[in-house]
């Protein structure tokens, strides 16, 4: 029995360059790289030295705050480069792979142990295996800290972000691994429920249909209907002090694969999309691979913006950057730096993407847009013509929340629902804002303030 939740607010960005839903094997990368900045809030402590040989699954660095949390090498090979920033902050570890994997003797968990081992021990093994960062917590939206048992676990089996990797495609064929991942999460959940969120009215992969021990909810409507923030609010809103674990469906399968094989899962499926991407497909690729592995072997030129993630929530990486550990989508769009439109503010602009009817592209409803990364306007103070409100399906008043944060009024911000959102939940507000305010950045400031003041 599936409960369906419908949403009307929001907006689907119709971008050109959707990936073809066929999975192909990407070539093995010549270099892999892992950047601690991908894991917000982690203070990295290097666990290897330059020139050292590492084995697959061996820790490259650990978290200073919680030394149990390892960040593992997805390949066997030699550490060719460790990049440090100011005050010797580790910025990146690069490993040059050998042709065959040699697995480090690390933490494993057999299928039989899944039911018997104590929860604390289970957590420790997932952390040592380097897989803990696959799980994120709400509120805050960072990796799980502390030993609080979650009030709910949310598996996200859908993604409504533009050009995003469809979890249904990525999970199809993982078979038993997905269910093992679910079992693992059920152990972590303790008494709490495990929810699976799927897209309404589409064919689901057998892994979703046959999954046991989860409560399935389906979601209909435009983005942000597919965001876990929306799901939590609709299914089981969190009470003060409660946390939820959130995991993407493909990452559930990776956890299951670790249980199944006893080895660190080295590959995942990444969708390559965007109007500037040379090949738009789903690739089975090595974790943390150099991005150029998926863009035809050459780094993309500077006119192309390569984004690890989607255009709404991803991070720009250079053409010679790395996919990262948790990246499901690689998006390539034109950057647009240096391009300027004559009288852009008054021309009808039939070919420009907009959520409002102030741009005449609404006359061509079927159009797919080639969008670049320009702001299309100068930053201004908040002039609220209702565009933020129309873009959020959460029960919050975003302008008031933002002002409370800007006024450093943390109590007020929390009362206004700060803990129900992360930057991805307000990404559409940023997109649609005529005043070009980065709403997500303000929300993150508020969440940082909350963490610094000792909130959990």
């Amino acid at each position: 029995m599936t409960t369906t939740h419908r949403f009307t607010k929001g907006f689907d960005l119709k971008l050109a360059g959707s990936p073809e839903p066929t999975v192909v094997n990407a070539p093995e990368p010549l270099l892999v790289g892992l950047e601690p900045s991908e894991f917000a809030g982690v203070k990295p402590k290097p666990a290897v030295e330059e020139g050292e040989r590492v084995r697959t699954g061996q820790a490259l660095f650990r978290d200073k705050v919680d030394a149990d949390v390892h960040f593992a090498s997805p390949v066997t090979g030699k550490v060719t480069k460790m990049v440090f920033g100011e005050r010797r902050l580790l910025l990146r570890v690069e490993v040059s792979p050998e042709p065959t994997d040699e697995h480090a003797p690390g933490a494993t968990l057999s299928v039989s142990e899944l039911g018997s081992v104590a929860r604390d021990e289970l957590v420790r093994r997932v952390k040592h295996a380097g897989l803990w960062p696959l799980i994120r917590q709400r509120p805050i939206g960072k990796l799980v800290r502390g030993d609080k048992v979650p009030a709910a676990v949310f598996i996200n089996g859908m993604d409504t972000e533009p050009l995003a990797c469809d979890p249904a495609v990525a999970v199809r064929g993982t078979g038993e691994a997905f269910q093992l991942g679910v079992e693992l999460l059920r152990r972590l959940a303790g008494q709490a429920k495990v929810y699976l969120a799927v897209k309404d009215q589409v064919v689901q992969p057998p892994e979703f249909i046959n999954s046991k021990g989860v409560e399935t909810h389906s979601f209909a409507g435009p983005h942000p209907a597919g965001l876990v923030g929306t799901h939590i609010r609709a299914v089981q809103p969190l009470k003060p002090g409660e946390i939820a674990y959130t995991v993407k469906a493909q990452d559930v399968a990776l956890l299951g694969q670790w249980v199944q094989t006893g080895h660190y899962p080295t590959h995942r499926i990444v969708a390559v999309a965007g109007s500037a991407a040379p090949q738009r497909k789903y690739f089975r690729t090595r974790l943390c691979a150099a991005a150029m592995t998926l863009t035809g072997g050459k780094p993309m030129p500077v006119e192309v913006r390569v984004i690890a993630g989607t255009v709404l929530s991803g991070s720009q990486i250079g053409g010679d950057g790395f996919l990262g550990f948790g990246t499901h989508t690689l998006t390539c769009i034109p950057d647009g730096k240096g391009k300027r439109d004559l009288f852009g503010w008054i021309m009808p602009q039939f070919g420009k993407l907009s959520a409002s009817r102030a741009v005449l592209s609404w006359l061509r409803p079927k159009q797919e847009y080639e969008v670049d990364a320009r702001l299309n306007g100068g930053p201004r103070a908040i002039v609220n013509i209702g565009s933020w409100d129309a873009m959020t399906s959460l029960d919050i008043h975003p302008t008031y929340l933002v002002r409370a944060i800007q006024a450093n009024d943390l109590d007020e911000a929390v009362q206004l629902g700060l803990l129900e959102v992360t930057e991805e939940d307000v990404a559409l507000c940023t997109f649609a804002d005529p005043c070009k305010i980065d709403v997500g950045q303000v929300i993150r400031q508020g969440l940082d303030m909350y963490e610094n003041e000792g909130g959990e």
Partner: protein
């Protein structure tokens, strides 16, 4: 080619050590008027942005105002010649004196057929009054904005583009330009920049400009003589006075406001806008066209507009039913007359919907709009002095907008606490 010119000009002011860097906001405003900025999104966060920006938003409000502007040009001339036609044959009337544009276009001996002036005569007269008003409003306002931008080292905001034209549309066409200039300066400095500029003001700046004129120069802003412009030293027609529709109803004996109104002005004249009044409020049809544009593009809040009209009609009915027979004032048997007279429709569509000075939450927008309607009717009916209440009601509700929002936001907080199990 244009791009090359701009890039060369940019060298003069863009870099912090460039010779003209101190006044970069002025150049930036001109530059971004021509070409969209090429600034791209940061490394994190949304990488694509909607094509709408504040320039486009404000430009669309101006597009929505264009029917009113064009109509005001024609009707200012129409009312002028209508007044003269009614005076043809009066012994005291002197020969026609032409104004600056008439003199420029037709020569000093311009002598229109006063009894049957043509379309061209009316438009030229209308432009003769309206163009200087619009020019002064923009010239004074934008220059002050630019100075504040330079002081604040911010880009010039587009807010005044709308305020400038609004101010021109809510004053009588006979307004002396020096008074207008002072009012604009007052509104921009005191009502807007003192609060921090576009996005920070509490009151609608255009309404403040009008209120300033209303209280500082009542002789030029009220009464029966000022609503038809002429060519004498005061921009009036000597010896001519014609009250507005509201003023007619206001002074009618108790219980006879409706008859007095309809014998002076027909409903179709009021709807189309062939009546004297402030430039923009004349034609209800043009205001509705503008409202359609604002609502369709999502720039103006339909909640404020509908709430306002409902508030006006309901309170119109209630007031007429309770005090209509005993009090003197604008008590109309048909509440729709409240829409046809005065500046309410213009005010609720273009001024009450100002995104900065109106509330932000949807529920509050309904309450606020309805409040504007109710207070307008109260002033029209109960207040003995002012015929029109739109200006005062918009300003009053501007002041209450944050309070209304506050209650809506508190309710949201309460609901959140209830979900969390608190009482």
């Amino acid at each position: 080619m244009l791009r090359g010119l701009i890039d060369r000009a940019r060298k003069l002011y863009h870099a912090p050590d460039a010779p003209l860097h101190k006044v970069w906001p002025m150049f930036d405003a001109m530059e971004t008027f021509l070409l969209t900025p090429d600034q791209t999104a940061g490394k994190r966060g949304p990488h694509v942005r909607d094509y709408i920006d504040l320039k486009r938003t404000m430009a669309l409000v101006i597009v929505a105002l264009l029917p009113c502007v064009l109509w005001s040009i024609w009707n200012t001339g129409h009312q002028h010649f209508l007044a003269l036609a009614s005076m043809v044959g009066d012994s005291g009337v002197k020969a026609y004196v032409s104004g600056w544009l008439q003199g420029f276009l037709f020569g000093g001996d311009y002598a229109p057929d006063l009894a049957a002036a043509g379309f061209g005569d009316k438009v030229v007269f209308g432009m003769q009054r309206m163009l200087p008003i619009i020019f002064v409003s923009y010239f004074v306002g934008l220059n002050i904005e630019a100075v504040f931008s330079i002081i604040r080292k911010e880009e010039v905001s587009e807010g005044y583009l709308v305020s400038g034209i609004l101010i021109a549309l809510i004053v009588p066409a006979s307004i002396p330009l020096w008074q207008l200039a002072i009012a604009v300066a007052f509104a921009v400095v005191i009502a807007k920049e003192a609060f921090g500029g576009t996005g920070m003001n509490i009151f609608n700046p255009a309404m403040i400009a009008r209120a300033f004129l209303f209280f500082a120069f009542p002789a030029q802003m009220s009464g029966d003589a000022v609503w038809v412009a002429g060519n004498n030293a005061d921009h009036l027609i000597d010896g001519f006075a014609r009250p507005t529709a509201l003023a007619v109803a206001k002074v009618a004996p108790a219980g006879q406001a409706s008859e007095a109104l309809h014998s002076a002005y027909s409903t179709s004249d009021m709807f189309l806008g062939c009546i004297p009044g402030s430039a923009g409020e004349m034609s209800k049809l043009c205001v509705l066209l503008g409202a359609a544009i604002l609502i369709f593009t999502g720039i103006g809040s339909w909640r404020v507009m509908v709430g306002g009209v409902v508030g006006l009609l309901v309170s119109g009915v209630v007031m007429n039913a309770t005090l209509g027979d005993t009090w003197q004032g604008c008590y109309f048997d048909n509440p729709l007359d409240h829409l046809f007279v005065g500046g309410f429709l213009f005010g609720i569509v273009f001024m009450a919907t100002d995104p900065v000075s109106s509330p932000e939450t949807n529920t509050a927008k309904w309450i606020y709009g309805a409040g504007v309607g109710v207070v307008t009717v109260l002033v029209r009916t109960i207040n003995p002095a002012y015929p029109e209440g739109t200006m005062l009601s918009v300003l009053l509700l501007n002041a209450f907008a944050p309070t209304i929002d506050h209650f809506v936001v508190r309710r949201n907080v309460k609901q959140r606490l209830a979900r969390h199990g608190h009482q």
